[in-house]
């Protein structure tokens, strides 16, 4: 009896040994035996390798399936999110379409009437119509400017140019600009002498102030008071713009910051805003790390309040 060890190779790599048992003792293998054993070794090593590859393939398939599953899930989530964004975008576009059509309706109506009924229209009425046309084209222009503003802000294309800003100086500048419109309304500012400069984007804070103060004026009764005040508290400043107008009911105090939301009141029917001023203000204040809210009781006027961090680590560049 003798034992034969058969090295099994695959491309020079040893994959195992086959053990052959012969039932007679002979030192030399015959040619037939040699051929038989070498074929056996070759075929079994291929079979072993095939089995191993097959197993590896199965494993890879499983991992692949898991990965495909995971990715599909990710893609489905991304897809849902995109669909939501797309919905928000089309809602926005249909609101924009509505808002653009409204002043255009008035403009077209007045122009066509001026054309068709030239002889019937009194001089006084003609004058009134031209005034309305002027107002409505202003409204359209404002709407377009603010739409561009909000689209720039929302797509993240607005950079904050940090520089030292004196809020009382900006308030003074806004008062000067609005002085003619203010008419019989008194504009008052009230800041302590040591009110600190903050680091902020001067143009954007001026835009916020312009918006809030114009609103306050718009809703002020004749002879009313618009007061802008401020104080420092720790690392923040708080600014209040207050008016003596009709005030805002509690149920509307959050909604007025929504795009295109307009309160139903006499002032808005006569002189409708774009419904974008306050959403823009809020976003600009958020970009500075601050917040804005309103405090009001019907009949008691309105307090629009915003807080801004001093942001002293952010200041660079020239004074704004």
């Amino acid at each position: 009896m003798s034992i034969v060890l058969l090295p099994m190779r695959l491309k020079a790599r040893l994959v195992g040994f086959g053990v052959g048992v012969r039932n007679h003792r002979m030192v030399h293998l015959s040619d037939d035996e040699r051929l038989f054993f070498s074929m056996f070794a070759a075929q079994s090593s291929t079979a072993i390798e095939n089995a191993r590859l097959y197993e590896a393939l199965g494993q890879a398939n499983l991992t692949l399936e898991e990965k495909v599953h995971e990715r599909t899930h990710d893609l489905q989530e991304a897809n849902t999110r995109l669909r939501e964004l797309d919905q928000i975008k089309s809602n926005f576009i249909s609101m924009v379409s509505h808002e653009l059509r409204t002043p255009l309706t008035a403009i077209k109506g007045f122009i066509v009437t001026l054309f068709h009924y030239d002889k019937e229209i009194s001089e006084e009425k003609r004058h009134l119509y031209l005034g309305v046309l002027n107002e409505e084209t202003d409204r359209l222009t404002r709407l377009i400017t603010e739409l561009l503003d909000i689209s720039r802000i929302e797509s993240g294309r607005v950079d904050i140019q940090w520089s030292p800003v004196s809020v009382p100086t900006l308030v003074r500048r806004v008062f000067d600009t609005l002085a003619i419109k203010a008419d019989a309304v008194r504009l008052v500012q009230d800041f302590p002498a040591d009110f600190p400069d903050i680091a902020a984007d001067s143009d954007k804070i001026e835009q916020v102030l312009m918006n809030l103060i114009s609103n306050a004026l718009k809703y002020s009764p004749e002879g009313g008071l618009v007061r802008v005040s401020g104080f420092r508290q720790g690392d923040e400043i708080e600014i209040t713009v207050e008016d003596e107008g009709p005030g805002i009911p509690a149920s509307e105090q959050e909604k007025i910051f929504d795009k295109f939301y307009r309160q139903d009141n006499e002032t808005n029917r006569k002189n409708p805003g774009t419904g974008l001023g306050l959403p823009i203000c809020r976003t600009l204040i958020h970009l500075h790390g601050g917040k804005v809210w309103v405090r009001s009781e019907p009949g008691q006027g309105c307090h629009f309040i915003f807080r801004l961090p001093l942001n002293l680590d952010k200041s660079e560049g020239p004074r704004g």
């Binding site: 379409s97 509505h98 059509r101 409204t102 109506g109 009437t113 309305v132």
Partner: protein, 121 residues
Amino acid sequence: MAKILVVDDEEHILMILKDSLEFSGFQIVTATNGEEALVMVEKEHPDLLVLDVGMPKLDGWEVCRRLKGDAKTQALPSIILTAYAQTSDKRKGMDLGADRFITKPCDLSSLVDEINALLKK
């Protein structure tokens, strides 16, 4: 002279609709929101209604739904005149029973044509 109730919350639009329709020979009464519109229908018995959609208190859809659902006012010819311009809006208006759906900005002379056509019915 046919009496038309024009409902719109935009003062300028209401002003020009009133003036131009008066120049065209109609008698005009107005309302600035949905609630007021329903009151005016009852009080003024207009021959036709020109109705905006986006309004405070009660919107034009709801006004239309209520008028068309009430046997007393069902027959009142109603034109929806709105800046909502999508096909789905138009379908909604027609489903609610509006007789015409006109998109703003509108051609005032075709509005007058539509009014005359509905009044002749």
